[in-house]
Amino acid sequence: MNTNLKISNVTKIYPGCIANDDVSLEFNSGKIYALLGENGAGKSTLVKILSGVVIPDEGKIYLNKNILKLNSPSDAKKNDIGMVFQHFNLFETLSVFENLIIDSDEQRESLREKIDTIMKKYNFSVDLDVPVLNLSAGQKQKVEIIRCLIRSPKVLIMDEPTSVLTEQETSELFLSLKKFSEEGILIIYITHKLKEVMQLCDEVAVMRRGKLVSVSQIDNENIESLANKMVGQDLKTIKKKKENTSSEQLIKITNLNFTSEDPFETNLVDINFSLNRGECLGVAGISGNGQSELFQVLSGEIISNKNSIEFNKNFIGDLNPQERREYLMAFSPEDRLEQAAIPQMAIFENVALNNFKSSNFFNNGLINESKIKEHSKKIISEFNVNTDNIDLKSQFLSGGNLQKLIIGRELITSPDLLICFNPTWGLDVGAINYIHETLIKINEQNKSIILISTDTDELLKLSDKISVIHRGRLSKIMNAEDVTSEKLGILMGGGN
């Protein structure tokens, strides 16, 4: 039976932003639809409306020509709309089977049989009797999918499903989704990854700032055209010039270990690497494998053995971030709003967070505001931060502008080494391009970069050398030319 899902003139307004502005879309079963857009474009709101989590201010939803009243998630379930969220809704300590039976009204035995048939049919292999916390991200996602399939849904919505998956798990997921689609399940796939859209989907709807920008057949599109629609401007492509890097060693890490008292942190085991001037070392990995700990150990937020870090012929393992800055290191943490900057403080105050003795921001314990402001203006103009008001609280900067400010703050002192962690996470394509260009430029000025990132494309584009972090261990360092994303995927999943 064919399924037809129609969204008609849906509008949802939050205080201060229009999340969905008069959106109308139509979907038919047998096809896989992509809903594409940057963070904040309104995809998630639309999906939440479809799954009954959010009630629209205006507009209607039709399923097979009947009006749907979706006032709660259970309404969506009743109407055969299944949803797999980006963040899993599973009880970690319960077994897989217990998780599946929780919201089902079927008998234990018949449910078990049903699950077995589903798993056989789609070639899923998940042990039903182990606690969920022992599963990999890919397996957890399968549990979520099975949970939807039990109800034989007509519509299956996937919200950014690959953000936690390895390459292999992603391709497995795509195979399953294609199979579901052949069987008549209508699939709506939400993402901001263009490559996946091209690989998987038949039709693509692009959203930008709450509005539907275009609906088109995938055959008429390519990555560039979609990217331009998503951002609303033409993008230049950038490529790193391969030049001979110097052979002068800048930083050397020897037998660095970190054991955490916090069970939610990852221990670092025997980290060893070295990096020359002018090089970029990319550290790939699935998030949660020790990247954050590695960043903190390198930045000095976590202090380690003095001799484990040699920088510019000085041993600095026991110094805090401020002291390391004096040796010309700079750091750009992953979390822009909670760590790298303070949203409630003015731009110039945020600039003062990176404080050198020679910068004279603070004389004899007093704040030298004019000096800081002068410095801030310089950053704003050199790094294209789109504002001229340095008294503005930084929460009013967009993510891209804030990141430019942070990178600018770290780079304006021309450090020898920049350590950055997911520098383009959640940014729009324009800002990503700018950050990438900047990073390439500092490599060309014979400065080094350690780039910890979960974005494989970014790593392949910017790195000279690449290593993969998995469960707190760093793989051997490879030359970037010899690495493919498939190979990285295997290493990221713990293979060899």
């Binding site: 205080p15 201060g16 805090n320 943490p333 909670e338 760590q339 303070i342 704040i367 503005l392």
Partner: protein
């Protein structure tokens, strides 16, 4: 149709306008309450807010009450601005009073210019010791400072109770729960003959100036601010975040302790059971009403001090319980929190178009 729209950036004007609005709304609501109770609203409000400060004596009383409120609120502003929720200023005040009172009692039969400074210092140290308990528990054992500081209030009151009834009670006091009178050298001098306003007000004013300077002009203040917003950022910048937390608690405790000194060495001149009519709690309202800004706190402490006086006049002239004062304090906080909504959102009136 009225639409609620998020503000791009809260304007400075709104920031200081909402406290005024809150006071105004409190007056209206107070008027309504008086009306329900069967009083003429305007007359009752006049008894509450104008009669008490109409003469010289009243004004001196106003400053007398505002002094501890201002001192404590200034100290609290350090904590609150850095997201440390010290709500135990009442306990720090009490403990400061105990320590300084104990020192003053040591010198009860002596005279000398050196006694008062020692007594004042002892009060500040007492407050600091008491405030360091929640601070250290928070930083090194991850306890919640709200609970710890609040519960310590009751501990300090019981300690005071024990001391004034037991070991420190006045041997010639016929078992009244109070200590000996301090010697004159241990007392803060009165400023005017016949009025109760004393030199403690200079302590409060000094605290205002110093706190403004430290918070807005020094590197230390900047680090406190950063640590308060985010310990992660403080760590990343290389500041010693935990030390900052302890420091703001110590400052806050010192101010509360000084307020305690003012209470016992000012007009009273001895330790007794009730050193403070909940100044430590009321100062929380003062701190927020004053927007955690030193100058704002001066005004806020005056406004809130009136509710103490007004409650007393109302009790005398209108036979309403003096706890009405607390009702007003509660309403001020309530309306302040409500009108703070205007900081981040504004109303937009739109014609009735679809």
């Amino acid at each position: 149709m009225i639409k609620i729209v998020k503000r791009d950036q809260p304007s400075k004007a709104i920031f200081f306008f909402t406290p005024v609005l809150a006071i105004f709304l409190t007056l209206i609501a107070g008027g309504i309450i008086f009306y329900i109770l069967g009083f003429k609203p305007f007359e009752a409000l006049k008894f509450f807010f104008i009669v008490p400060i109409a003469d010289k004596y009243g004004f001196s009383e106003l400053l007398l009450k505002a002094t501890p409120l201002c001192l404590i609120a200034i100290g609290l502003s350090f904590c609150f601005k850095s997201n440390n929720w010290n709500i135990g200023a009442e306990g720090q005040l009490t403990f400061g009073a105990i320590v300084s009172g104990g020192v003053a009692l040591l010198f009860y039969d002596q005279e000398g210019f050196y006694i008062l400074p020692i007594v004042i210092l002892a009060g500040a140290i007492g407050g600091m010791i008491y405030a360091s308990i929640p601070a250290i528990l928070k930083t090194y054992f991850n306890t919640n400072e709200i609970l710890v500081s609040l519960m310590l209030v009751y501990v300090s009151k019981l300690i005071l109770d024990y001391l004034v009834v037991g070991p420190w009670s006045n041997p010639e006091g016929f078992n009244f729960p109070e200590t000996r009178q301090f010697s004159d050298s241990a007392r803060l001098p009165l400023l005017f003959e016949g009025l109760r306003i004393h030199a403690g007000i200079f302590l409060a004013l000094a605290a205002v100036v110093i706190s403004w300077f430290v918070f807005y002009k020094t590197y230390l203040g900047f680090q406190m601010k950063v640590s308060g917003f985010s310990l992660k950022t403080a760590k990343y910048a290389g500041y010693k975040g935990k030390k900052m937390i302890i420091l703001v608690f110590l400052i806050s405790g010192a101010c509360a302790g000084l307020a305690g000194v003012g209470e016992i060495t000012g007009p009273i001149g001895q330790l007794h059971r009730e050193v403070s009519p909940d100044y430590g709690f009321t100062a929380i309202i003062v701190a927020f009403l004053g927007r955690l800004h030193p100058v704002g706190i001066i005004f806020a402490s005056l406004v809130v001090a009136i509710t103490y006086l007004g409650a007393e006049t109302a009790q005398i002239f209108m036979q309403i319980p003096k706890y009405t004062g607390q009702v007003f304090q509660g309403m001020i906080l309530f309306f302040l929190l409500a009108s703070d909504y205007l900081l981040f959102f504004k109303f937009k009136f739109i014609g009735s178009k679809k």
